[in-house]
């Protein structure tokens, strides 16, 4: 593992993970180490990518960062406050500060709720009049037609549903957005649109982005810093351009070599007969 880079200013990191470990107990004798010794810091405004294959511990890590699960050892802090092992009552601030967009919009949107109710659900039950305005604002931000609010999730395409998920995540004005494989279920042309929308929103709203993906090309397009995970550990971490240009760990090299690249494949065809 390379030495973690210092955050740009001497300010406190926004998110800090220290020696995170998560063990799942299967039986009295057997347990699975989903995460071990994971430490990193994410500075405000960073676009932090987490890359790895199935079973590498990406999703476990996301759950710990969002305080949806408790680590077996180690700690997670948000703006210097510990959020691991804290009762839900003590996490209210985090629930609006940090929001998640999941991979499968159909699985994460309630099919019986109208889109406007889905989007305003994180805002709570008070001051509903203001919420109507906020919903309209959010629909516009994710470039959905203004009348989308009255419809149901099944009336939208996969890409539009992911826009709905993003609008819902932005509703409580979070400072951090975690996107867990947000484009893996989408067609390529839709994928590019959603990535551009995410990047645009991150910049416009000054968000910190944690972007989880198995797709190195996508992470390279979106992030400025990347952590490569394997078997529950971070094997390499650094600025995105450095990791792609000079991968230090053999596993990163292997991943980069295996990633299908249109350019490389076309270049091979050019050389061919």
């Amino acid at each position: 593992m390379t030495a973690p880079s210092e955050p740009p200013a001497a300010t406190q990191p926004l998110i800090e993970a220290r020696d995170l470990e998560r063990r799942y107990t299967r039986s009295r004798r057997r347990s699975v180490h989903a995460l071990r010794g994971v430490s990193f810091e994410i500075a405000a405004g960073q676009r932090f990518g987490i890359v790895g294959e199935s079973g590498s511990g990406k999703s476990t890590l996301v759950r710990l960062l969002a305080a949806l699960d408790t680590p077996t050892a180690g700690s997670v802090s948000f703006r210097g406050n510990r959020i691991d092992g804290v009762a839900e009552r003590g996490l209210r601030f985090l629930r609006s500060e940090l929001q998640i967009v999941f991979q499968d919009p159909m699985g994460s949107l309630d099919p019986r709720m109208r889109v406007r109710d889905i989007i305003r659900e994180p805002l709570g039950r008070t001051r509903r009049a203001e919420h109507t305005e906020r919903v309209a604002e959010l629909l516009e931000a994710v470039e959905l037609p203004a009348d989308s609010g009255q419809r149901y999730p099944h009336q939208f395409s996969g890409g539009q549903r992911q826009r709905i998920s993003i609008a819902r995540a932005l509703a409580p004005r979070p400072s951090v957005l975690i996107a867990d494989e947000p484009v893996s279920a989408l067609d390529v042309s839709v994928r590019a649109q959603i990535l551009d929308l995410l990047l645009d929103l991150v910049e416009r709203l000054g968000l910190t982005l944690v972007f989880v993906s198995h797709d190195l090309n996508v992470v390279r397009y979106v992030c400025d810093e990347v952590a490569v995970m394997r078997h529950g550990e971070i094997v390499e971490r650094g600025p995105i351009d450095r990791v792609y240009a000079e991968p230090a760990h053999p596993y990163t090299q292997q991943l980069l070599a295996a990633a299908p690249s249109l350019r490389a494949a076309l270049a091979r065809l050019e050389e061919g007969p």
Binding site: E53, S54, G158, D187, V188, S189, V190, R191, A192, Q193, L195, H214, D215, L216, N217, V218, R220, Y221, Q254, L255, A257, A258, A259, P260, S261, L262, R263, A264, A265, L266, R268, L269, E270, G272
Partner: protein, 258 residues
């Protein structure tokens, strides 16, 4: 030698037209990619070739495998061809395998059904050899495993072994690596390439991933809204696309250039 010839294939459901006037040919040993987005008609085209269209869908035109017309052929004729002359590798290896049957028996099954091996024992040892050729670890032991005991990549190798069991003239792969990790994907693609080259198998490879099609196929067909809008050598189509849609697809795929 032309293995598959599809002429003016159209598929409709009720009055709705889903695939229109699709024509293409695949020669022995030729690898042809069918690309397009969800709903463009790729899978319906492949299902028509296999005679596996869902109920209520109707195909017209002609699909010929060698001299044999497949559209409108009896179920008996089709079942004699499936798993023998044409076979298919699906996207989801977990749903394509029988969860309650050892994988070795699932590979032996097509050989026994089509009588290409004299008895169960010969079919079983052929299955173990096939497992070795698709680089499954411990072929003997793996043959006794159930699908849930294998990883996604291993299951996809089992499916490939089943598809190759009777040396088909035509292999159809429908997004065979979409559900797999990149390192496993690279291995499975290499296997498909090696297996089809070695056997001179015609390959119809369905994918939405342009990088994958460029690394596997010599020719490519681009589908949009049920029609083939562009076709040609992979290099020509992907480096100087003529149709606007192909250009858009390329621009969206090539994140390196953006």
């Amino acid at each position: 030698m032309t293995v598959l010839r599809v002429d003016e294939l159209s598929v409709s459901a009720g009055g709705q037209s889903l695939v229109r006037d699709v024509s293409f040919q695949i020669g022995a040993g030729e690898r042809v990619g069918l690309i397009g987005e969800s709903g463009s008609g790729k899978t319906l085209t492949a299902s028509s070739v296999l005679g596996l269209l869902p109920d209520g869908l109707h195909a017209t035109g002609s699909v010929r495998l060698g001299e044999q017309e497949l559209l409108g052929a009896s179920e008996r004729t089709l079942s004699r061809l499936r798993g023998m002359e044409i076979s298919m590798v699906f996207q989801e290896p977990m749903t394509a395998l029988n969860p309650s049957m050892r994988v070795g028996s699932q590979v032996a099954e097509p050989m026994l059904l089509h009588g290409t091996r004299p008895d169960r024992r010969a079919a079983r040892s052929a299955a173990v050899e096939l497992f070795d050729s698709v680089r499954l670890p411990d072929p003997e032991g793996t043959a006794r495993a159930y699908p849930h005991q294998l990883s996604g990549g291993q299951r996809q190798r089992v499916l490939l072994a089943i598809a190759l069991a009777n040396d088909p003239a035509l292999l159809i792969c429908d997004e065979p690596t979409t559900a797999l990790d990149v390192t496993v994907q690279a291995q499975i693609l290499a296997l498909i390439l090696a297996a089809t080259r070695e056997r001179d198998t015609a390959l119809l490879f369905i994918t939405h991933d342009l990088a994958v099609v460029a690394s596997v196929c010599e020719r490519v067909l681009v589908m949009l809204d049920g029609e083939i809008i562009e076709s040609g050598g992979t290099r020509e189509v992907l480096s100087s696309p003529r149709h606007e849609y192909t250009g858009k697809l390329l621009a969206a795929s090539d994140l390196e250039a953006r």
